[in-house]
């Protein structure tokens, strides 16, 4: 228990450090803007004190624009008469645009796209704040807020403000076909580099994770903060192993189809792919690598210039209900920030495989949640990943 606390504190320390850095960067950005235009832009900085009086929901334009992961849109999420129905009935169907990764979402918003709210992951919150495009949530408008798991809620706070509202969490781990693949000794992420399965492996097309995995396999202490030399070594290694991969997947739907079609036997996977493969009647194992699974926690950020402030709050409130939590576990096998679910209502298999009843299994050192990475370091990882792909 005490070690668990220590781990959490360590994590938060790391994040705080990074956020200080973020705040400094935002500050200099604002200063630069002042210098250039001669007029300050108060909207960019979170003030908190002189909050503008929000107009009532009736005078908002509606047509909430949600920048979402595929599979989280109405009616795919919860079904036509399911968990999002109360919101849709009252406020109309939101417009959903799909993001394929946190980086892609950041890039698209940087390029000028302005939805009302976005569903990034917690390790990117600093980058969103740094870009100056998000504002804190007013948690008093969210009736389900008290039911959300405290550590996750705290993870979304910056300067005492709830910039990020946790929604879903889960593991990332190797998924493999147990009828075709025989791990070499102990279960390990090194299965991704196993020459015996050339052409049957799929890594996730993500600038960070493949380096982080290499880091854990090679005993690097903090793979989220590797030096340039370590990254170079990892890049050369990944280049030498990339021929083992059939593809680098970027859409989970495509990955699931490839696993079902027998094109892929071993993949970096989220729980949803495990469920999809089981549903397709395949013998699959969601691995417990000795280096520990990776973990993720995503949620909602509110755009600073949204005209649908209250609509967005009602939407996340509906999203945060216990019905929503039960649905996402039953259908995607992901965790939900609302942990007041009765686990008797969800499949035993999921509870066991994803440790829904065991919070310690998702803490260090059993699992490694994604950690915030500064923009500068993220670029260093990304540049090398692009080189791996281009080579």
């Amino acid at each position: 228990m005490s070690t668990e606390h220590e781990e959490r504190n360590q994590r938060r320390l790391g994040r705080d450090d990074f956020l200080k850095l973020g705040a400094v960067t935002v500050g200099t950005g604002v200063l630069a803007a002042c210098g250039a235009e001669g007029a300050p832009e108060p909207a960019a900085a979170p003030t908190g004190e002189d909050e503008p009086e929000r107009p009532p929901i009736e005078s908002e334009p509606g047509n909430l624009d949600v920048f979402e992961w595929a599979g989280y849109e109405y009616p795919a999420y919860g079904g036509k008469n399911g968990v999002l129905k109360p919101y849709v009935d009252q406020r109309g169907k939101p417009k959903f645009t799909f993001l394929t990764s946190d980086d892609q979402a950041l890039g698209k918003v940087r390029a000028g796209y302005r939805p009302d709210m976005v569903h990034p992951c917690v390790d990117y919150v600093g980058n969103w704040i740094e870009m100056g495009v998000v504002q804190p949530w007013d948690t008093s408008l969210i009736t389900n807020f008290p039911d959300l798991e405290a550590p996750l809620v705290q993870g979304g706070q910056v300067d005492g403000q709830q910039y990020f509202l946790p929604a879903d969490w889960g593991f990332s781990s190797p998924l493999y076909r147990s009828d075709e693949v025989e791990p070499d000794g102990e279960e390990s992420w090194a299965l991704f580099y196993d020459d015996r399965y050339e052409g049957k492996i799929s890594w996730w097309d993500s600038p960070l994770e493949n380096f982080v995995i290499w880091g854990y396999v090679n005993g690097i202490e903090n793979p989220w903060e590797m030096t340039d030399e370590q990254l170079d070594e990892a890049r050369d290694f990944l280049m030498s192993k990339k021929h083992l991969c059939r593809n680098f997947w970027s859409s989970q739907t495509d990955l699931d189809a490839d696993i079902a079609a027998g094109n892929i036997w071993i993949a970096y996977a989220w729980a949803g792919s495990y469920v999809a493969a089981k549903d397709a009647g395949l013998d699959v194992v969601y691995s417990e690598p000795k280096e520990g699974r990776l973990g993720w926690n995503c949620g909602f950020v509110l755009m600073a210039d949204t005209e649908n402030f209250r609509h967005a709050h009602e939407f996340v409130d509906t999203w945060s209900s216990v019905e929503s939590a039960e649905w996402i576990i039953n259908n995607y096998a992901y965790g939900h920030a609302n942990t007041s679910v009765n686990l008797a209502n969800v499949p035993e298999d999921y509870v066991a495989v994803f440790h829904l009843d065991d919070p310690e299994a998702r803490q260090e050192p059993n699992a490694h949640y994604a950690r915030p990475v500064s923009t500068e370091r993220r670029a260093a990882y990304a540049q090398r990943w692009d080189e791996v792909k281009a080579a």
Partner: protein, 303 residues
């Protein structure tokens, strides 16, 4: 196509001196909207891309300062330059094979299938009724490890193991792009064969040419402008191809367009992304002007 262009050129050849002064005004008025469109939505954005590529504009405010470093890194043996040459190679293969495959089709429709000509032409265009994405998915079903081809090979005992290079490979990208572009290629070739003066073929046979000789000495040279136009139709867009390699390319079939998309969308490296984009743009522009000159020369030669 080119033949038509020639006719237009000759009728419009003696302008200027005798033309009424109002024509100039009308021409300007007619040309202004498309020109404005081109300037606002193409030239100015391209200028922005160039400014990003030398870091005069930057993704994160406050980091901009003029530098040619990104250009130097790119041109100094970066993996992206190798990827560019690979894309050029793939585009060349795709264009040549597509033209060679489409020529007999266009020839048949234009010169042999007299009554059913337009029905056949419609049939060639029929794939466009199905979305591009669905057609690529269909190729995945055909080429996959448990797909149509591999199932057949294993069922007949020709192979014990599925042929894995069929999908997620350079081969898959080249094959699907050839398939996609054949209709585009057939049309300009069809147009040039269609406007062929049949009397020339009669004359050739009167002078004792065999059918093969007539084809080689009359039909083929006269259709060269169509063939070149067709080649350009494939070669230029496939160099920057993004979607097809993303879906069927896998690790090996990645092309230059994917690298550009990653730089902007995934790595947030707009500096490098702009260098790659601008480089591609310049190369394509140069190639276009070379091809255009070649087309003009051919026109003079055949005309």
């Amino acid at each position: 196509m080119a033949v038509e262009a020639r006719e237009i050129e000759t009728t419009a050849a003696p302008p200027g001196v005798g033309a009424r002064p109002r024509t100039g005004l009308v021409t300007t008025a007619l040309l202004a909207p498309p020109l404005l469109w081109l300037v606002v939505f193409f030239l100015i954005p391209v200028g922005f891309i160039f400014l990003y590529s030398v870091n005069v504009f930057a993704f994160f405010p406050g980091t901009q300062a003029f530098t040619l470093d990104a250009w130097k890194n790119f041109l100094d043996g970066s993996p992206f330059l190798d990827l560019f040459w690979k894309s050029i190679r793939m585009s060349l293969i795709i264009s040549v094979v597509a033209v060679v495959a489409a020529y007999p089709i266009a020839y048949y429709i234009a010169l042999i299938a007299s009554k059913r000509k337009y029905v056949l032409l419609l049939l060639i265009l029929a794939p466009f009724l199905v979305s591009y994405f669905l057609r690529l998915l269909a190729w995945k079903v055909i080429l996959g490890d448990q797909g149509v081809i591999n199932s057949f090979l294993i069922w007949t005992g020709i192979r014990d193991e599925p042929v894995s290079w069929l999908l997620y490979s350079q081969f898959a990208v080249i094959l699907t792009l050839i398939y996609v572009y054949i209709p585009f290629v057939a049309l300009p070739i069809f147009a040039s064969l269609e406007s062929l003066d049949r009397r020339l073929l009669e004359a050739a046979s009167d002078l004792g040419a065999s059918r093969w000789q007539a084809f080689r000495k009359v039909t083929l040279p006269l259709s060269v402008p169509g063939v070149i136009a067709a080649f350009i139709f494939v070669f230029i867009p496939t160099i920057g191809e993004y979607f097809t390699p993303l879906l069927v390319g896998g690790v090996d079939g990645t092309m230059f367009g994917n690298a550009i998309a990653d730089q902007f969308g995934q790595s947030l490296n707009w500096l490098n992304g702009s260098v790659l984009s601008f480089f591609l743009l310049v190369v394509v522009a140069v190639l276009m002007s070379i091809f255009a000159r070649f087309l003009t020369v051919r026109r003079v030669a055949t005309g």
